[in-house]
Amino acid sequence: MIFANVLSQLPIALPAISYKAVAPELVLFGGALLILLVSATVGKRELPGLYRAIALVAALAEGGFSGYQLYLAQGAKASLAVAGAIAYDGFSAFAGIVVAAILLLAILIGPGFIKRIAGDGPEFLVLMLISAMGATVMAQGEDLIVIFIGLEILSIALYVMVGYRIGDGLAREAAFKYFILGGFSSAIFLYGIALVYGATGTTNLAKIGAFLALNVLTHDGVLLFGLALLLLGFGFKVSAVPFHLWSPDVYQGAPTSVTGYMAAMAKVGAFAALIRVFDIAFAGQIVQWRPIVVGLAILSMVFGALFALRQRELKKILAYSSINHAGFILLGVYAGTAAAISNTLFYLIAYAVIVVGTFGLVSIVQDSIGVSEGSCSLDQLRGLARSRPALATVTAIMVLAQAGAPFTTGFLAKFSIIVSVVEIREYWVAVVAMLSAAIAVAFYLRIVLAMFRGEPEEVEGERVLAIQGAATEAPARRQALAWIGVSLSLVFTVGFGIFPQPLLDLAARAHIVG
């Protein structure tokens, strides 16, 4: 009686759910459930081939649905679904394609190496699919609370994945650090949402935009403080300086395959949401948030490059490199024009593919020298060019692509960001960005030089043993799928690096309408 009374009083109407809009999420979640179901019903727990097949199909289907949405969305305004809480437009569809690309590569590369540290159980792929779902929710979220939930789905799955090498002290600490600081930043983000809600009376981005367009706030302190907290939360998630302190440790402690996956997926989700929140909903407040974003961007680019110079550990260097990249992507957000958003998406897909490929190569290298998925000092790369010239060459190309070497997507990504910044006539920002890239090149070159320097026979006896030990386990078979993944990312990086037009067209279609 009371229940019915309450229901009739409250303005709650069950929303109509457009399954077309949420198909990418459903496919990923369905894939995850199916894997769990199979592992629970079939008596045998370890069915790596089947799990991988299901996960791959789910990833491809997600990519397919996103591609279909992109096809539908061209030129159209954002379509809202599920009571306006979910948007599906070219932007979210392109982000969905990026997610599918990351998943595809990570599923090919990761499990073979994870098997060596945690067996062939279904959990790893399930976590991967669920976190990817979180990223797509973030990209599609049109409501701050939905974005928050997407963020948490992504993050919680990643906390577990980071701690996968639970027998290893570094990994446990990395997982704990990631968890505490991740939770901390989520709470800050959430408080930002609450304050924005207080200032505008809604958490829906479209309604916030409409409210702010109609009303001039006499006291906008709460709103601006909320915005600052939102930015802070995003800053933590994308590890922008000065909120980057967790990332070098986490990158080092996490299993290498997870590091690459996390670096790509967390950035795609966070930046997709960041663009939607700031470049669309708070476009009117651009005067207020722009200085903060450009500050974060410059700090990240410059200090990411500088801090990396004094590191000797490969994964930490790559962590700082990803901080430097985050700075570049933030510049795209800072520019904020429609072309800049397309260019940012281009940067995201280029970066995601390169970073997953790079860490995949690190996994292969580590596997060959017998340090499965742990930390890897530069000294361990010595002589690689002479013992495994092909592996060293491919690694060199991917690392140089991160540095922005010509004829790779890495270069075009940086170039397109510079174009966006020059377009809004902020020449000095462009100069600073390029100079930071100049510093960054120095540490990328150190990685490559480490491989090309030294003789394989200089290696201490321990490692030679490790190589032999690994050889008896037939690393070729374990690495075969990983090689396919790495080759795909290489072909993508160099192919679109030389002929980028199709990809640029695709990114241009993904424009976003407020």
Binding site: G163, E173, F179, L190, A194, G198
Partner: protein
């Protein structure tokens, strides 16, 4: 006498600050964890207060989402802490110092 809504907001802000301070300064893993929960609940209080002030049910609904998420976080967080505890038999974060920026 009714207490103005802004008082609740101030309390929530204080709780949030307290929680943030706890996460950043305390060394006991469990206490850090509790501080994190304190932050989330401060946000919940903010949501509810605003919902009351704006006479809008949305803020109250948001609290449920936050509660669910917080519960999920607890599960994972405690899992990680238990894993550390098993190996180290300590819950002091100072012992977790092999990794340095």
């Amino acid at each position: 006498m009714t207490i103005p809504g802004s008082w609740y907001l101030v309390v929530a802000a204080l709780l949030f600050g307290l929680g943030a301070f706890g996460v950043l300064t305390r060394r006991n893993v469990i206490v850090m964890f509790m501080s994190l929960e304190l932050m989330l609940n401060a946000v919940n209080l903010t949501f509810v207060s605003y919902a009351r002030m704006l006479n809008d049910v949305g803020g109250q609904v948001d609290v449920f989402f936050v509660l669910v998420v917080a519960a999920a976080e607890v599960v994972v967080g405690l899992g990680i802490i238990v894993a550390i505890f098993r190996q180290r038999a300590t819950v002091t974060a100072d012992d977790i110092s092999s990794l340095k920026g």
